[in-house]
């Protein structure tokens, strides 16, 4: 209804291949960024900024990473939280052992370390596929957990990987308040989300999708499967690593290895299923949905407040999480992103159905 496409003709390929070809979409993105950068910091409460917005952004980043590997390249991974842990502990170590680096550099180095570990655990993809590979990524999850707990060098001598993240400084900016941390997170996520979008609409993204859709044919048009899969593992782990670092520095502050347990990997997998496999938008939608849902449930339950309720809601949440995954797979395999798209298409085609 609001879309008007008459007279939008392109006179060059550069314009034709824009990320958002329709002006209304460009305005939409600009509006979302405006809300995120201006409206939320000014008007939202600390609780919302910290526990909702920052967390959603961080998990969105992790979900984007998993989506690159699973949604775009078709390689199922159950170890995303493990790579987050690598990023978090690596960034922590860089911050503690090399003080003076801008904290963003720490995050990126955390991501790079995660990418290298991702490379290591991606190696089996040379020979194995599908579920076999998924199980291999479980190995990553458990091995990483074990290594961090067993070698307390990683936690600067603390047991169970317990760490407190140091103060953050970027070129004189002391990132201290909840809003500061939110803005830092937001900026990192925005940059990496656009980078991810650029990756998937270019040659690398096409190669990944080709491998996902039909690896035999992909190889026969000259795509080298193994390096491309490895690259997907690395990029995915990089995103997870940065997300892990953000989680540690910008949200938790002090944490243990349990912040990155297997359940977290499954939550991220749930996010991309619910949000939409193979879409960047879906990663955001899925993360927001999976994180907001329990809050919503407990708020509703709080209306009928009683002590047993918390336990009830905790279990109901797990059930609902499972049911949602099944429900989305059955009813809308392409997730919230698809619903969002259909809504947009409806508006674009209005009043026609097609």
């Amino acid at each position: 209804m609001i879309y008007r496409q008459t007279g939008l003709f392109v006179t060059s390929y550069a314009k034709d291949m824009r990320m958002f070809p329709i002006p209304q979409d460009r305005w939409g993105i600009a509006f979302v960024l405006f809300v995120a950068y201006v409206i939320i910091p000014v008007f939202a409460s600390e609780y919302w900024i910290s526990t909702i917005f920052t967390v959603v952004l961080i998990y969105s980043l992790a979900a984007i990473g998993l989506n690159l590997l699973t949604g775009y390249c078709g390689q199922l991974s159950l170890g995303q939280a493990g790579f987050m842990a690598v990023g978090a502990y690596a960034a922590f170590n860089f911050a503690v052992r090399l003080p003076g680096l801008p904290v963003v550099v720490n995050f990126l180095l955390g991501g790079v370390c995660a990418a290298l570990v991702g490379l290591l655990f991606g190696l089996p993809s040379l020979r194995i596929k599908g579920f076999y590979l998924a199980v291999a990524t479980l190995a990553a999850q458990f091995t990483i957990e074990w290594v961090i707990v067993s070698f307390n060098w990683f936690a600067a001598g603390n047991m169970m990987g317990a760490i407190d993240t140091p103060r953050m400084v970027i070129l004189g900016w002391h990132v201290e308040s909840v809003t500061d941390k939110y803005l830092l997170t937001l900026s990192v996520v925005v940059v990496l989300a656009f980078a991810a979008k650029n990756l998937v609409r270019g040659e690398i993204g096409r190669s990944w999708m080709a491998i996902r859709d039909l690896d035999v044919a992909a190889e026969m048009i000259g795509i080298r499967l193994f390096p491309q899969k490895l690259l997907a593992f690395m990029v995915s782990a990089f995103y997870a690593g940065v997300a892990g670092a953000l989680l540690a520095f910008c949200y938790l502050g002090s944490l243990e290895i349990t912040s990155f347990e297997l359940l977290v990997s499954f939550r991220i997998l749930g996010m991309i299923i619910v949000g939409g496999l193979g879409t960047i938008t879906g990663s955001f939608l899925g993360a927001a949905f999976i994180i907001l849902l329990p809050i919503l449930i407990s708020n509703v339950a709080a209306q009928f407040a009683s002590t047993q309720v918390t336990q009830f809601t905790a279990n109901a949440e797990v059930m609902l999480f499972g049911a949602l995954i099944i429900g989305f797979l059955i009813l809308e395999p392409l997730g919230l992103a698809r619903l969002w798209r259909s809504l947009k298409d409806k508006l674009r085609l209005w009043p026609f159905p097609y």
Partner: protein, 263 residues
């Protein structure tokens, strides 16, 4: 311009020498030799299970033969991997359409250009600058193919939703995007109606004549094969039983026996 025509049928582009291939105990190819000559359209025919697709798979590097060797442009490449084969200038289409179904026509064709693209993940993440220029360069090439195959209105459609005949055409487009020296077509006209077959014939002939691409194709429709092929090779039970011009093959008693006997 007509160099490929002058040279047609003379120089071998691909030589397959005494290839044998078996799966477990099953012999798919039994000491088969053939050559594809520069500039020609070669037809490979034979009853079901004659080993035609296996032959393409061997040429393609999907399977490696247990015996024999393959020369492409005079160089041995028997043990090449499929992506190396592609890089050396061989493209193919599949019997049951090997497209990337969730991707658009444009992306499928662009994917076919991957061999020509410089990959640099950082530049691509930034997009603006070299990566964009590269994308545009490849897009220009792909647009020529879209124009060539008259699939302008399919650009933005996911190929999985296209009718079968058009999928086959897009798949040919993806193969052409590789700018192959040798194009292998596995039943390019299977499952098509008359009109689609005619179109496909025209595109195959145009590809051969205008782009100078050497073509080897498998096809069941005899009329089509006789029509567009310069030379025909007949396989039966994994062995070559005849070879020659369409006329020679048509009248070859062994071929007739193989076909009738199979019924």
């Amino acid at each position: 311009m007509n160099a490929e025509n002058n040279g047609r049928g003379a120089e071998p582009l691909l030589q397959v020498e005494n290839i044998s291939l078996s799966f477990g105990g099953l012999k798919a190819l039994d000491s088969v030799s053939l050559e594809v000559r520069k500039g020609e359209v070669l037809g490979i025919i034979g009853p079901n299970g004659a080993g035609k697709t296996s032959m393409l798979n061997v040429i393609n590097g999907v399977y490696h033969p247990q015996e024999g060797r393959i020369l492409f442009e005079g160089k041995d490449r028997t043990t090449m991997r499929p992506h190396e084969v592609a890089a050396s200038g061989v493209a193919r289409t599949f019997q049951n359409v090997g497209l990337f179904k969730a991707m658009t026509t444009l992306d499928n064709l662009l994917a076919g250009r991957n061999l020509f693209m410089k990959k640099n993940i950082l530049l691509q993440a930034i997009y603006f600058g070299p990566a964009q220029r590269e994308e545009i360069r490849q897009r220009e090439k792909v647009e020529e193919i879209i124009d060539f195959l008259e699939i302008q209105n399919l650009r933005r459609l996911p190929v999985g939703a296209l009718p079968y005949g058009l999928q086959k055409r897009v798949e040919l487009g993806r193969a052409l995007a590789q700018e192959p020296k040798l194009l292998l077509l596995d039943e390019p006209m299977a499952g098509m109606n008359m009109e689609e077959k005619q179109d496909m014939c025209r595109f195959i002939i145009d590809t051969n004549e205008q782009l100078g691409t050497t073509i080897a194709l498998i096809e069941h429709d005899m009329a089509v094969v006789m029509d567009i092929c310069d030379r025909i090779i007949v396989l039966d039970h994994g062995a070559k039983i005849a070879e020659g011009s369409p006329d020679e093959v048509r009248n070859n008693p062994e071929v007739i026996r193989a076909y009738l006997g199979d019924e």
